[in-house]
Subunit: 401 residues, 2 copies
């Protein structure tokens, strides 16, 4: 089977391990010997409930999630959470500070790329508070208008008592990512967060979740991720929520907060072990298989090392090509994503030639996001180092032509 | 493979056709010869976009959906739509009647079972209008407190100009369903709807969608269904929305309507061909395979006939058992669901004995919903007539014991 499979560098939905897909194919017809396929089994069956608990256990142990935080599963992807974080955290802020006006409820957004920009737009659209852009990375870019960098720490301005503080750990479209080395200027400035309060820090971790450990996880209020990058099929969203952010939104609504649709209420999810309504059973299953395999391979320490090596190889090839005037890095050094490596191929028609040469070698989905163009190689967990070596070999071969 | 499979009478997620699961198992590793598995392919790839269009075409042709209505795909199930219908239709009402107060915006709910009751509760919780219970079926039940009937037409009271009118076509938990024969007293009273306006009639069709044609489909504003009964895996929600109900919710919010989370905005879904954000690619795929197979078998006319015969056989066996004092019908005659047939097994320990005997014969998931107990046999499209015959044979055999 795997012989006929191409190498899929797509940004998501994206490649999954062959061995998991083969196991899932069996599970589709018969899940764990129940005689019922996984897509057909009741989400309230003891077999599925046990499987969901196992998935939760994998997330908790591999990421070392403390007991202060709940792990929740829902649908709707990161875009669904753009709204849910605002609604739940404005409700929390209302309960803590019922007498403030909406103008006094700040929502701080760190804008480092297309996704964080979209998240901020949704907060603005919903209203109920004021969006404060804590920093916008574009003025600090090479051309003054692109998302190509993680800004320096001294550029951030946080509000004293915001309802939420948002950042996107890895920008899938633009290929910039916060460093998880606290001494790097491209790390997230945790030390600048307001200290007088349990900070409502939210991180969109969609495209780097489970690719390496999360720095200062316990200092986050909410971490969320769509599954369709390192974990599984689209249709599953994983949330890690500090328990003080699981609030009674109806009580907050009585004090004037916006009402929250029931499927977006964290308390409803938490009170019902993520089974208030029917979850994405099949996506949960495949994600569970992926994380079980990940644990067997050595967990996030293993992936952190491999992923770092993989990305370094591609960045080195870009650098080599840049010296020869063939490639151009799109992201400032130090801000580059380990998951989504972006670059340009210079010269008339050169990009199309690069892509068709890659396809001829069985490497697909290297075209950059339609909004920014160029080349994007997504190097998620299921992309092997050997596959990256093939890409790098091709990148070098292309230089010779 | 199929030899090891049990007969799954579960209410949802529920049984899917063997042949579809076998094809899906292949698609997991290689979708339509792309060399990429269906769970791994970009939702913006031409192959997936074509597949989604095919699924839409299947829904449109099999249900004869007119061009006045859009077909949309989203996530979050029926529970997600409990909120979305309220938010979108209150926005529509606001745009049509900006000067009315919230007290003057009626939302009419027809309450015939657990799900319609829940839908009404969500409307009440969100606020923004007044919930009017057009009819509650419980006072018309045998014991005065159960959902066991579709009430007679003269019991309904609709508001003159409501923001929405809601009913649930088939109540999965309680086993009552509207008749699709207009001359039946258990049909929906379309003739009583307010005539002065394009009625905002909403139907939750989750557990009967694609099991038979939808009567007066064109007279509905919104029809929605979670996929996990007759169509596919959980994680996909299908909507049929009349185009006047696809409104600019942000313009309505400026006039005082509630803000709508972006993933719940029908206009966002419609403007982006249901690809505003990443959809449940895998659930869409399996649903597409199921509907293609359904068309090959003869479409909804075929299923209507078979499903009617299947249900009649089970109801006849219940009647026979009732005469012998062993079974007890839970639903009044004429109001019984074709999809979820519910009954009691009378006598101390008899229900457990019935269930264990069924399991011994390879028939599973016959236990009624935890809130109402008893037996529930769900007879969705993928349950064959032969499998129903086995159930009926066992029901008769049980009478002899």
């Amino acid at each position: 089977m795997s012989d006929s499979r191409v190498i899929n560098f797509g940004a998501g939905p994206s490649v999954l391990p062959d061995s998991v897909l083969q196991e899932a194919a069996k599970g589709l017809l018969n899940f764990n010997g129940t005689g019922i396929g996984i897509a057909e089994i009741s989400h309230r069956s003891k077999e599925f409930v046990a499987f969901l608990a196992e998935l939760e256990g994998q997330v908790r142990s591999q990421l070392e999630v403390p007991e202060t935080h709940s792990i929740l599963f829902t649908q709707g992807g990161a875009t669904g959470q753009f709204s849910a974080i605002v609604l739940n955290l404005l409700a929390r802020h209302r309960l803590l500070h019922p007498d403030l006006s909406n103008d006094e409820r700040a929502m701080d957004y760190v804008v480092t790329g297309s996704w964080s920009k979209k998240a901020a737009e949704e907060a603005r659209r919903l209203g109920g508070g004021q969006v404060n852009v804590a920093v916008d990375a574009r003025p600090y870019s090479k051309d003054g208008k692109s998302f190509d960098n993680i800004p320096a720490h001294d550029t951030y301005t946080f509000s004293p008592n915001p309802a939420l503080i948002y950042y996107c750990e890895n920008e899938t479209v633009d290929g910039v990512e916060f460093s998880n080395d606290a001494s790097s200027p491209a790390s997230f400035p945790f030390h600048l967060l307001p200290q007088n309060t349990l900070a409502p820090l939210v991180a969109d971790y969609s495209s780097s979740f489970m690719s390496r450990p999360i720095p200062r996880l316990a200092d986050h209020a909410i971490i969320y991720a769509g599954a369709q990058k390192n974990i599984g099929p689209a249709g599953l969203t994983i949330l890690i929520v500090r328990k003080d952010c699981i609030v009674d939104v109806d009580a907050a609504a009585k004090l004037g907060a916006m009402p929250v649709p029931i499927t977006m209420v964290y308390k409803t999810l938490a009170d019902n072990n993520s089974l208030y309504n029917t979850p994405s059973v099949l996506a949960i299953y495949i994600s569970g298989l992926v994380l079980k395999r990940s644990a067997e391979l050595g967990g996030l320490k293993y992936y952190e090392e491999v992923n770092k090596r993989k990305a370094e190889k591609v960045y080195a090839a870009i650098k080599e090509g840049a010296e020869k005037g063939v490639y151009q890095a799109k992201v400032k050094e130090g801000s580059g994503s380990l998951m989504n490596v972006v670059f340009n191929v210079l010269g008339e028609g050169a990009e199309a030639k690069f892509l068709s040469g890659a396809e001829a070698r069985g490497m697909q989905a290297l075209k950059g996001h339609r909004s920014v163009g160029g080349i994007r190689a997504s190097l998620y967990n299921a992309i092997t180092e050997q596959q990256v070596d093939m890409l790098v070999a091709y990148m070098k071969e292309f230089l010779e032509q």
